[in-house]
């Protein structure tokens, strides 16, 4: 689960003197939104995002109505003037869970991954995390998803797994969702089969409640809106 397994290793970078205009082209050509800025030793000194660049553009630049002077000024603008200096970065031994929580909390779209000397090793973006979760959900494999509502007590999952294993059906994934009704959990089982009718009957005969697919959700906002969000304290290396 370390980010080093999921991060992009071939990172496109710029140095702090690179003109902003060049950085913008690099991003567009490579369909990326984050460019780490490094020094000669590959040490991370900043990060520049497509958003930073957009807000640095003179407002009439794209319409070609800005003055020659404005244009020249902008073309001479180096990345270091608009980048975020010493950005939040993580070590390769951070886990995917760390990265998820940190990205959610800090509202950035990507995190540079650096070694103990702050030398750049990779970058992990929301996109990399999504890929990991597409894999976890088993979306790429043929199968059928069911949702079972269980009481929050020990041994429920075992009963489900035993019943399905007895039918010689393989699991693509099992997810247990939180934030369901009080004292209840939603167990999502992804079964690698088309043959679910008799699995459903069997679960029904064992007293499990299969939830109507139109009622499924993986997540919803906590009902108590006033509860303050937990503050995360993860110090970057």
């Amino acid at each position: 689960m370390f980010v080093s397994r999921s991060m992009t290793r071939k990172v496109i970078t710029v140095d702090s003197e690179t003109p902003v205009i060049e950085a913008q082209e690099l991003m567009a050509d490579n369909s990326i939104r984050h460019l780490p800025v490094v020094d000669q030793n590959q040490q991370l000194v900043g990060i520049v995002t497509d958003r930073d660049i957009r807000s640095a553009l003179p407002y009439n630049y794209l319409k070609d109505t800005c003055s020659e002077e404005q244009r020249e000024q902008f073309c001479a603008l180096p990345v270091k003037d608009i980048m975020t200096k010493d950005p939040l970065a993580i070590s390769p031994t951070y886990t995917i869970q760390d990265a998820l929580l940190l990205i959610q909390n800090s509202k950035v779209g990507a995190l540079p991954v650096v070694d103990d000397n702050r030398r750049l090793e990779g970058i992990i973006s929301v996109r990399d995390l999504l890929r990991a979760f597409i894999n976890v959900l088993g979306i790429g494999e043929p199968g059928t998803l069911l949702c079972i509502i269980v009481k929050e007590e020990v041994g429920q999952l075992k009963k489900i797994v035993d019943a399905i294993t007895a039918e010689n059906v393989s699991f693509g994934s099992v997810l247990v969702a939180r934030y369901w009704e009080e004292d209840k959990r939603a167990v999502f089982i992804y079964l690698l089969t088309q043959n679910v009718a008799h699995v459903k009957k069997k679960l029904d005969s064992l007293g499990f409640t299969l939830l109507d697919p139109m009622e499924w959700y993986l997540d919803q906002l906590p009902t108590n809106e006033s509860s303050p969000e937990k503050k995360l304290t993860i110090d970057p290396p």
Binding site: P142, G143, T193, Q194, N195, V196, P213
Partner: protein, 316 residues
């Protein structure tokens, strides 16, 4: 009355799937009985199966895959590629007969001996990939028929309509880069049903871009939603594509009484769908419609569904 072919052969029941498997041999006699009891049997032109020439199967499937499948059956294995795909000694033979029977029907339609036809075959085909068996399917019957139409009969544009409740992943993948075969599928939304493909944004790749169309239907929906989606998605697409022949992957498993899905299509809803397909065939394909059985597991409903299906073809 049209010259409607009915491909039916008892050897399709030799493919045994073991206890508790929904894709069971009994499905076919149910279909036969439904057609017989509706008094339609004598109006149909009965066609028996024949073995397919391997060269047509090889136009779709990998040669090594075909050998693997044959070896699994002949060596007495009970499953192939997944526990979903139960096989017996005769499964390979039944699959060859299914393809061969369909290709024979295609020839008869092209020669004008038949106007249209219903092929009641087992095993089904639309989940079968180039080199993988999936979802009770081994050879992709409809895909092979499409290639046969093009290569043997010089047909340029084949339209495939798949209304089995499950998405025909195999058929889509085989033709997704191909602008000469249009694949349209309406099925239960892939987040709720096997196999997990057939999303609205899957519309073909490269030169096949725009020649695949999917209408995913949310759980619990029935006739109204099917009508709305087919009118919005299928009819304009086929009016533009103008298929010279229409192949239909017929699945009856979207029926409200079929426990393989959450769909609530009625018997009348199935007739409505087939009527629209027949109209498309009349407009664009000189009435040349060949329908091939995929799923449909409610033994109570199969008789009436099959009878209505062939009656619409007879009155096309």
């Amino acid at each position: 009355m049209k010259k409607t072919g009915f491909l039916y052969d008892e050897r399709y029941q030799l493919h045994l799937t073991g206890d508790y498997h929904p894709e069971m041999p009994d499905r076919l006699p149910c279909i036969y009985r439904g057609i017989q009891e509706a008094g339609l049997l004598s109006r149909l032109i009965h066609i028996k199966a024949r073995r397919a020439d391997m060269k047509w199967i090889e136009m779709v499937h990998d040669g090594r895959y075909i050998m693997r499948f044959e070896a699994a059956c002949l060596s007495g294995k009970s499953m192939f590629d997944s526990p979903d795909n139960q096989v017996c000694y005769d499964t390979y033979e039944a699959a060859l007969l299914a393809v061969g029977g369909i290709l024979d029907v295609v020839s008869r339609v092209m020669e004008g001996d038949l106007d249209n036809a219903f092929c009641a075959v087992r095993p089904p085909g639309h989940h079968a990939e180039v080199n993988k068996a999936m979802g009770f399917c081994y050879f992709n019957n409809v895909a092979i028929a499409a290639r046969y139409l093009q290569n043997q009969w010089g047909i340029e544009r084949v339209g495939i309509i798949d209304f089995d409740v499950h998405h025909g992943n195999g058929t889509q993948h085989i033709f997704e880069q191909d602008s000469t075969v249009f694949y349209y599928s309406i099925h239960e939304h892939p987040s709720f049903a096997y196999p997990g493909t057939g999303r609205e944004f899957e519309i073909g790749n490269n030169s096949g871009h725009g020649f695949t169309k999917n209408s995913p239907v949310l759980p619990g929906q029935g006739d109204d939603e099917y009508k709305r989606l087919m009118q919005k998605d299928l009819i304009p697409a086929f009016d533009e594509f103008k298929p010279e022949v229409i192949l239909v992957s017929v699945g009856f498993d979207a029926h409200a009484d079929d426990d393989m899905s959450d769909m609530k299509l009625s018997t009348a809803g199935f007739s409505w769908i087939m009527q629209r397909i027949v109209e498309l065939g009349r407009q664009h394909s000189k009435g040349r419609i060949i329908s091939v059985l995929e799923g449909g597991y409610s033994l109570e409903r199969l008789p009436e569904l099959a009878a209505n299906h062939v009656e619409i073809l007879l009155n096309a």
